[in-house]
Structures are given as structure tokens and as C-alpha cells.
């Protein structure tokens, strides 16, 4: 199966390990990976800040980039949710609206793709230790992907899973919110880190680069002995 990878700008620039793990994992599961060089950012940072006009240029670029793909897969729920929003954003533009719709329909978040399209629930991964999982807001609420990550994690050998208290609460990232409303963001991420600590987990697993940068950044700053891992890295551990 041919899979076109939408790596996301954060992964491309800051978390290349997540990109690598995604490629290796999908290849191991029998996919052929295509990575179009012309991909940029999905436009979310500008769009969410209210700069709709500016963000549309990036969106058009992405629509073109993935136009001929069969499946588009991305290791980030929030960015996939943004692709799903494109048809709504271009609804008054017939030509782009149609293309946006096609892109939205063939785009999947990584775990969703593995479970719903590849129909694989056990990827044969192994990671020893205690873990908890952060359910990102955009991934669960906007995209509606809730069970796929849990199904896959439950089948990772050696991993002891504990549910995160207050798991539905936002970590305080929110893109530019994290710097615009830094004071409030701090309170939110602190509460999240406290909850992670309460689980006694060795690993905090997530599926969204933004949230992980936020929670991970706070964990590092406060010197907590918790390793933050993307679910692609966990599923690629053997």
C-alpha cells in the first residue's frame, strides 16, 4: 500500500525521530512511503490566530502537494484535524473546496490508519516500563480518534499502562496561546505535569507534537524523571 507521509513542520524541524519512527513503523507494516519534498506547514498557527488569509496560501500549497496521493498519513492528530477543516475553510471556493474535500477524505492520523485501514491491532512492539498517555484535544474532540491509540498501546509487550487523571483536560499548548497567554498556559501545563507524576509513569506517551513539546518542555525544565515519547516511537520499539 502506498502511503504519502505528511510529516508536519514540527516533526520535520524539531522531532525528526518521530518522523523516522513513523517511516520505519509503516514500512514494517508493509507500506511503501512517499515523502513529497514540497510539503510545508498545514497553516494552523496562523489560522488559529485569526490570520485566515495568510494561512490559506499554506493550505493551497498542501492541497497541491498531496493531490495525487492515495492515502495521506500523519503522526499528529492536530494537523490532521486541520486538513479536515480545509473543506470548511474553502467552502465558498468551488475549485479549491472540491480539492480540499478530497484531501480531507483520504487523510488519516497514524494510529487511526493502522487500526482502521491496515486493520492491525498489534504491531509487535515491545517497551518495558510504566506508561501513561495524553489524549490530545484536537485528536480526540475534533478528529474523534479515541480508541485507536489505546488499542495499539495495549498490545505493546512489557508496557504497563496507567490512565492519566484528568486526561480530558487540555495541556495548555493551544499554539500561540502558549506564548500569548503564557501565564495561564503555565498553570495548565503544571497541572498536567502533576497528574503525569501522580501516575508514577516512566513514560508519557502522546500523539501530537505540539502537546508533547509543551508538556515535555515543562517536564524537562522542572527536572522530572519522565521520558516523553511519541506513540510512533513506542510502536517502533522492539
Amino acid at each position: 500500500m502506498k502511503v504519502t507521509l505528511f510529516a508536519t513542520c514540527l516533526v520535520d524541524m524539531f522531532q525528526s525521530n518521530v518522523g523516522k519512527a513513523t517511516v520505519e513503523l509503516l514500512e514494517r507494516l508493509g507500506c511503501e512511503i512517499i515523502f513529497p519534498e514540497s510539503q510545508v506547514c498545514c497553516g494552523q498557527p496562523a489560522y488559529n490566530s485569526g490570520y485566515v488569509r495568510e494561512s490559506k496560501e499554506a493550505m493551497k500549497r498542501m492541497i497541491r502537494t498531496f493531490q495525487n496521493a492515495e492515502y495521506v498519513v500523519s503522526p499528529s492528530g492536530s494537523c490532521v484535524a486541520m486538513f479536515k477543516e480545509y473543506p470548511h475553510i474553502f467552502k465558498e471556493d468551488h475549485e479549491w473546496g472540491l480539492l480540499a474535500q478530497q484531501l480531507a477524505e483520504k487523510t488519516y492520523e497514524l494510529t487511526q490508519f493502522i487500526v482502521d485501514v491496515l486493520h492491525i491491532e498489534d504491531v509487535g512492539a515491545q517497551l518495558n516500563g510504566k506508561a501513561t498517555y495524553h489524549t490530545s484535544c484536537h485528536m480526540t474532540r475534533l478528529l474523534g480518534v479515541k480508541s485507536a491509540p489505546m488499542i495499539l498501546l495495549n498490545n505493546v509487550k512489557g508496557l504497563e499502562y496507567t490512565e492519566l487523571p484528568g486526561k480530558e483536560q487540555c495541556c495548555g499548548f493551544g499554539g500561540t496561546f502558549s506564548v500569548k497567554m503564557a501565564q495561564i498556559s503555565e498553570q495548565m501545563v503544571d497541572e498536567k505535569v502533576t497528574h503525569v507524576e501522580e501516575t508514577g509513569a516512566d513514560y508519557l506517551i502522546g500523539a501530537d507534537a505540539g502537546c508533547m513539546m509543551n508538556i515535555g518542555g515543562r517536564i524537562d525544565r522542572t527536572g522530572k524523571p519522565i521520558k516523553v515519547m511519541h506513540i510512533a516511537e513506542v510502536l517502533n520499539s522492539r
Binding site: D12, V18, C41, G50, Y51, C137, G174, V179, R218
Partner: protein, 475 residues
Amino acid sequence: MTMKIGTGDFKERVDQGIHDSFMRGAVAGAQERMGTRRNDAAEELGNWEDWRSHGEEIRQHVLEHLDYYLQQLSENIASRGGHVFFAQTGEEANQYIQDVVKRKNAKKVVKAKSMVTEEIALNDCLKQAGCEVIETDLGEYILQVDDHDPPSHIVVPALHKNKEQIRDVFAERLGYQKTSKPEELAGHARLKLREEFLSADIGITGCNFAVAETGSFSLVTNEGNADLVTALPKTQITVMGMERLVPTFEELEVLVSLLTRSAVGQKLTSYITVLTGPREEFDVDGPEEFHLVIVDNGRSQILGGEFQSILQCIRCAACINTCPVYRHVGGHSYGSIYSGPIGAVLSPLLGGYEDYKELPYASTLCGACTDVCPVKIPLHQLLHKHRQNIVENTGQAPISEKLAMKAFGLGAASPSLYKLGSKIAPAAMNPFTQGDKIKKGPGPLKAWTEIRDFPAPNKERFRDWYKNRDKGGNQ
């Protein structure tokens, strides 16, 4: 703007909120309690999503035919001998009510809880007319006794206070000498309020929903105070927001069910009262004179526009009770009697961007509010619409941000610029980098790195790795 509360700018208010550990404890506890109760009550109904859709349909239908239902309501009230006044502004509403007070030569008004009267600052206006106003909802009463502390929540106005603080307020202002047990505190307030009910000239209430077909209005409470407000005084005035009505009792049932479950996690509240006009010949109680004041105050401007769905709101506060931002900053930070997600959408509409331009940004757009709203208002999308408006139409967005976003537009649309940018990023960030972390970043990263580390850009980007790997042919 009369719905405005507190002093200082948004940042100062937030700072105050964040450092108020009593308030934060009270709010976090309440959010957890109310959240769990709401979830249980929704689950118990079985098909909650169907109920939400039904609620949404009812509210949308009413808004689409608002003029028709308002007229029907007015005619039905008039035919039973009630008076209806349509106030375009808060001042008009206050003036009308003040006139009634003067005509009746009223000295004391008892009030049931009403957000719309807070919105138009009715109490201040009544006081100016020389009339004593007594709030009879326990929460509102506490705030009134505490030197008119403003409400911080639309359903539980004194949410920001814990019981020890309430005991202290009562001790200081009312000579209260008992403990901080809720029953004892409530008992004390009840004793005080009973005298007030008996001696009041006018009763003023809000309105949860009016029923157009019968000319009735409903009040949903847990304390029963609203029943005394409507039963004892000779004159009654009900103030309602223009959009708060339903066609018939059938729709009332659906909305009340959504309201009580969403607001307090109850199947029904202790009292749900439906009243129709003034007392009739064989009624044992009720007012001799009845006035309904319908308040527009900016609502007809919202109608028909891109924010119309916010008028579907039934003021249940479920969005507030789930909001992670409200949780940490409390209601007073919003600077408006309408706080939380509903407040962040509604306050700029009713009060203008000048005063409320920060509120739409006080959200991570996490969507928790949209998820719980019983009438499916897309709250996080409306917050985003505000942001777009502020950027495109008000000129209030900071210049530096505008420039950055323009650069973003250029960079993100052009793969070669993007590639170049991401390639030189590690070198550009080098002076700030320690190991693989940035601990003290420049520009917008400054605020980020004050509390957290930021990852240093990868020297080998993902795309470089992919390309090299391709070349190596080890696929």
C-alpha cells in the same frame, strides 16, 4: 458598559485570579463535582446526543422565527391583563422598571436571580430611585452582603468563595455567630430573607424560558426563593433576554431537561415554576400586576449574523464548568458578568472589542466547551471567528504579530523559502541552545522558555534524513 466588572486590564485581573488560591481551590473542586454530575445525568438519559440535537433544533427554530414568537408571547400576556414592554437598550429597560417602581411608590424590591438584570445593572438604577433591593438567591445574597462582590459564574454566582469565607462575611456584616456549615449559613440567610419577602412591594425575576403559546414564563431554581418573589409582592416584574423563549410546553420540557442536567447534573431541580400573567379571580396568591420586560440590548445585532448561534444559549454554564482556562483564572478575570467560554464569545458582542478583545484569545481552542454544550453551540469556532474579526476588521492586532503572520504566509506557501528557513534555523538558534534544548529563547520564544524548555531545531531535519536514506538506497 454595564456588564463590566472589576478594575484593571485583562492581564492584571488574570494575575490576581491565578494568585487567589482560595478561589482556585473552590473553582477546581466545583468543576470536578459538577462535571461528574453532569456526565452522569447525561448518561442516564441514554441518548444524550439525540437530546442535544433536538435542543439545538428547537433553539434554531425559535431564532429563525423570533419576531413571530415574540409577538405571540406579547399578545398572550396582554390578553391576560399583563403588561409587556420591549426595551431596545438596557437604559430603556431600567427606565421602564424605575417608572413602575415610582408609580407604585415602592420602597423595597425582592429579586430572584437573573443574569439579564445584572447585564443592564438594574440594581444600581433602582437604588438611585431610592429603592432598597434585596437579592434572594443564596449566592446572590452572599455577594450582596459582601459589599456587592460581582458574580463569577452564571449559575453559581458566589462560586469563588468557600464556606469559611462566607461565614466570615456573614459574621462581619450580619453579626452571624454560628459555624461554616452550609445548612447553618443557609438557615441564617433564610431567616433574614423571610422578613424581606413579607415586606417587599415589588418582586423582580429573570426568566429561564417564556412559552409563547400560553404567555407563560418559567423559573428553574433549587431554593424556592423565586416562588416567594412571585407569590408575595403585589407587583411583579419579569425581565427576559429577547431570545429566551420556546413555542410551546412541549419544547419547554426538552430544554428544561437539558438545562437542569447540564447545569447541576439533576434530572429536575427542586422547583420548576411556570407562571402566567397576574393573579386571576380564584387564585390564592400571585401578583395583582404583572410586567414583562423583554430586553434586546444588542441581541438583534447578533441575530442573522455569523454569531447567531450564540443566542441558542440556555445559560446552563456547562461550558464554564468544563473550561480549563476558567478553572485557573476564575470568573472575575473575564471582566464581564458573563465568564468562561460563553462569556468569551458573548461579552465582545454585547460589550464591544474595545473592552473585551483579549477574551477570544483566552482559550486553547481545545473544544471542551463545544463538546458539552447542550444546544450544540460551536463555541470554539465562534472564538476563532472573533479572532479573525479582530485581525481583519478592527486593526487591534499587534503589528509585530501581523508582520510575523505575513512572513508565515510567504514562508509556508513557498517550499523553497520554508526549506531555507528550516535549514538555517539551527544556526540561528545556536547562541540560545544548550545541548538539544533552548532554555532562554529570543522574541516569541521568550515567553515560552520562561517556564519550559524548547527543543533546539534538529541539525538533520527529517527531510534531510529521508533524502540521505533514499540516496543510500537502504529502503
